[in-house]
């Protein structure tokens, strides 16, 4: 086993959390590798240092008053207008909003008739919704929050899934120096390409 594979298992080894086979592999590697021995020593000393951290005790009064304070905060929240709307009313409200929203889009489309002159003739055409979206994106490019509002829920879910897939693939390869969050754009792009290549290979094999 290589150092980069072992390094990843050192915490598990220290916590006695490895399978007997893995434990034996790590032990054999440690017997001959000074670098990993040092790495393990550093892990142990970090845990030792963390043990020295002082405990925090908020005091007996805090614990005695905990439940009554939670209760009064619940009541206060209910009094200050956190209205619990029944689900069917909420659904009805959402449907009404959607209808108004669609109606708004329709009216907006009517207003978006573009008029232009060519010679003596005057032409008009309706700006398609797709173009509007592109135009909106163009104006919103500096404004991340507007951009985010243009992403549909389905797109957002897809993005989350893609991110999770990328992250799992990244860690599956083991022994990483950096977390995914710390990679720069180019490294992320390369990782994405490798993942896509492997997925493609898997599909055709």
């Amino acid at each position: 086993m290589r150092c980069k594979d072992i390094k990843f298992k050192l915490i598990g080894y220290f916590e006695n959390n490895l399978s007997p086979e893995e434990k034996k592999l790590v032990q054999n590697h440690l017997d001959t590798c000074l670098r990993c021995q040092k790495e393990l020593e550093e892990i142990v000393s970090t845990f030792e240092l963390l043990k020295k951290e002082s405990p925090i005790e908020p005091g007996e009064i805090y614990w005695t008053n905990f439940v009554p304070v939670v209760r009064s905060r619940i009541e206060k929240k209910e009094e200050t207008g956190v209205v619990i709307i029944p689900k069917w009313k909420f659904a009805g409200g959402v449907v009404t909003l959607v209808i108004f929203f669609l109606l708004g889009i329709f009216l907006f489309k009517e207003d978006r008739k573009v008029m232009f002159k060519s010679g003596t003739e005057t032409y008009s055409y309706l700006l398609p919704a797709e173009d509007e979206k592109i135009e909106e994106l163009f104006y919103a490019e500096e404004d991340e929050s507007s951009l985010r509002s243009l992403i549909t829920e389905a797109d957002r879910k897809k993005l989350v899934l893609a991110e999770e897939e990328l992250e799992e693939y990244y860690w599956e390869k083991g022994g990483k120096e950096k977390s995914l969050e710390e990679l720069d754009l180019k490294q992320l792009e390369n990782l994405k390409k490798t993942l896509e290549k492997e997925k493609f290979k898997r599909e055709i094999l």
Binding site: F8, T46, L50, E53, P55, R71, W171
Partner: protein, 183 residues
């Protein structure tokens, strides 16, 4: 934590017995305070946030379907509230004085107490500077002593990703605390 007792309290609360919620709070309050404190590293804020967690639980418990364990669900709420708080609090901590949280010290040796305080403050800073996912994983594993599989459920990630996050967090802490290792 006694899962059977918890389930009993939840169903009693759902059927209208308000007192059951109080018992549920009493059962979990210390663990949640500890989790929240280790996340935000400020005693006053943690005292407030721990109570807020249970206010949120109260309003959401009726919709809790038991698809995951209650403790997993509770940890998820506490972690999310703490992370949101830390995000909101970034500006405040940037302009304010350092936290005045006083750790519990034994007064038998002032020098030892001083060292302990220094170490605690350094650990606070080191943990606070971790990326949020790594911080949550580190706290859940190191202080709450949750299994990797439970943390994976809380965070909605694979076990492998959680182990990797823990490894990265520890590596960063090791680096930040390197100058204390001789102590």
């Amino acid at each position: 934590m006694d899962e059977e007792k918890t389930q009993d309290l939840i169903s009693r609360f759902k059927s209208g017995e308000e007192k059951a919620f109080n018992e549920l709070v009493s059962l979990y309050k210390k663990g949640i305070f500890n989790l929240v404190f280790r996340m935000v590293r400020n005693k006053e804020d943690a005292m407030d946030l721990a109570q807020e967690v249970f206010v949120k639980v109260y309003h959401s418990l009726k919709d809790f379907r038991g698809e995951s364990r209650f403790s997993t669900w509770l940890h998820r709420i506490a972690v999310n509230l703490s992370l949101n708080f830390t995000e909101r609090d970034k500006f405040r901590s940037f302009i304010s004085l350092p936290d005045l949280t006083q750790p519990v010290l034994s007064s038998d040796s002032p020098l030892k107490d001083f060292e302990k305080k220094q170490i605690s403050e350094a650990i606070d800073q080191a943990v606070l500077s971790l990326p949020k996912k790594q911080k949550a994983v580190f706290v859940l594993r190191h202080y709450q002593e949750l299994q990797y599989s439970e943390i994976a459920e809380v965070m909605g990630k694979s076990e492998g990703a959680i182990k990797a996050n823990y490894f990265q967090a520890l590596k960063k802490l090791k680096k930040s605390l390197a100058h204390f290792e001789e102590w």
